[in-house]
Amino acid sequence: MNAVQDDDAPLLAVEGLEKRYGRRVGCTQVDFRLWPGEVLGVVGESGSGKTTVLNCVAGRLAPDAGRVLYTDRTGAARDVHGVSEPERRMLMRTDWAFVHQNARDGLRMAVSAGANVGEPLMAVGARHYADIRAAAGDWLEKTEIELGRIDDPPTTFSGGMQQRLQIARALVAGPRLVFMDEPTGGLDVSVQARLLDLLRGLVTELGLAAVVVTHDLAVARLLSHRLLVMRQGRVVETGLTDQVLDDPQHPYTQLLVSSVLQP
């Protein structure tokens, strides 16, 4: 009787994902789906397995069991860990983006800001210098970096600017799916707010789907539609973001929510 139909294909289907580090469980029995335009938050404390899940789903780490299916632009389901390495790399260049906690992991520190943003375009075939430079300038503007800094290397940027530059580099080639690992971690609170606002705006404007790992429940509330709560490598609770945070069901989620300091 539910009037809302659910027959559109998910962008991502994660089934029975497991990763072990020797005898230690990184993550196990992780299942979830992600639809176009949807932001999924993965929360939990350090060591809960959330980054392991992110890396496995993003194709950066091979799982020991389970699979990750990605529906590509043609509508075909691709087994992310079943396809060949070059195919996976191509997907990562054309369809996906990854935003690291540490901007230096996502940037090339020795080249200019403009080159950092232009490179992903060249990697997918852009050749015309003026177009690439114009697109780079466009993205610097979108991420609130002064155009005058286009020829400066990111080493001369503040932490918040570096993170915004990383986002510009991640999004310039028009990905459909973005993975973010603690995107606001390590930034001052005022800088965090600006970045959150920027991310939220871009995700909505571009209709991106995203998986965002964060230990910060306030960040999760502002960015994500749905939440996955992880503990000791397992998903202990899932649901609508405000429902999980306002009416947590699992003892661990209740502890997590009640442990947050209210300013």
Binding site: A3, D6, W35, A193, L222, G239, D246, H250, P251
Partner: protein, 232 residues
């Protein structure tokens, strides 16, 4: 009149796992039907579960027992146990909620906070912002504030931003939690007018109004929630 909202046997308790598994029943067997054009006031003493019922309807609290059906896109959908994506779709188009507190992204301008529900539905940002501005003007929020984020506004100003946001899209079902609290007489009048207009266009409204005059002015009916015996 057409029913827009149907609550059947709705019960809710909270289990506090980290406090020895204490179970707090807050609501038992709530039945309520609200038709288009009606405004139902939830009444009952503080702590009886009025806000809890609102949150159950909006879906930020999970319903233990019973159903919460909303008429959405021409059909009925039971929000109790609905998929999160379905709940979000209902919230986008059908179910609005003016809570007592404004929760927004720190840097977003007031005008955009109010325009957001319309932009999310696909309206051109410029048009959505124009609607936002006319609502803010109607609620006497000085235009000098429109470019600023509402975080630093006074309680009454934030409340008006919240109301403008809640009325920006003509939701067929609307939840109002103390919409006239912390407002002066003139602005209270504007809010009551907005509620009347919503009723006239066929919205089904459920509200909590401690202000008895406001309740008397706009509510067509009261629904009393009796407190449960907590010792049970």
């Amino acid at each position: 009149m057409t029913d827009m909202l149907r609550l059947t046997g709705v019960s809710k308790s909270f289990t506090l796992h980290n406090q020895g598994g204490v179970r707090l029943p807050v609501l038992a067997g709530a039945h309520l039907r609200v038709a288009a054009g009606e405004c139902v006031a939830l009444t009952g003493p503080s702590g009886a579960g009025k806000s809890t019922l609102m949150r159950l309807i909006y879906g930020n609290y999970l319903t233990d027992v019973g159903s919460i059906e909303v008429r959405h896109d021409g059909g009925w959908i039971d929000l109790a146990g609905a998929d999160p994506r379905a709940v979000l779709a209902v919230r986008r188009r059908t179910l609005g909620y003016v809570s007592q507190f404004l929760r927004v992204v720190p840097r977003v301008a007031t005008r955009d906070v109010v325009a957001e529900p319309r932009i999310a539905l696909g309206e051109a940002p410029a048009d959505a912002r124009a609607t936002a501005e006319s609502l803010l003007a109607r609620l006497n929020l000085p235009s000098a504030l429109w470019d600023l984020p509402p975080a630093t506004f006074s309680g009454g100003e934030q409340q008006r931003v919240n109301i403008a946001r809640g009325f920006a899209h003509p939701y067929p079902v609307l939840l109002l939690d103390e919409p006239t609290a912390s407002l002066d007489g003139a602005n209270r009048r504007v809010v009551l007018d907005l509620i009347e207009e919503a009723k006239d266009r066929g919205a089904a409204i459920v509200g909590i109004f401690h202000d008895a005059d406001a309740r008397g002015a706009v509510c067509t009916r009261e629904y009393e929630i009796a407190p449960l015996d907590r010792a049970a």
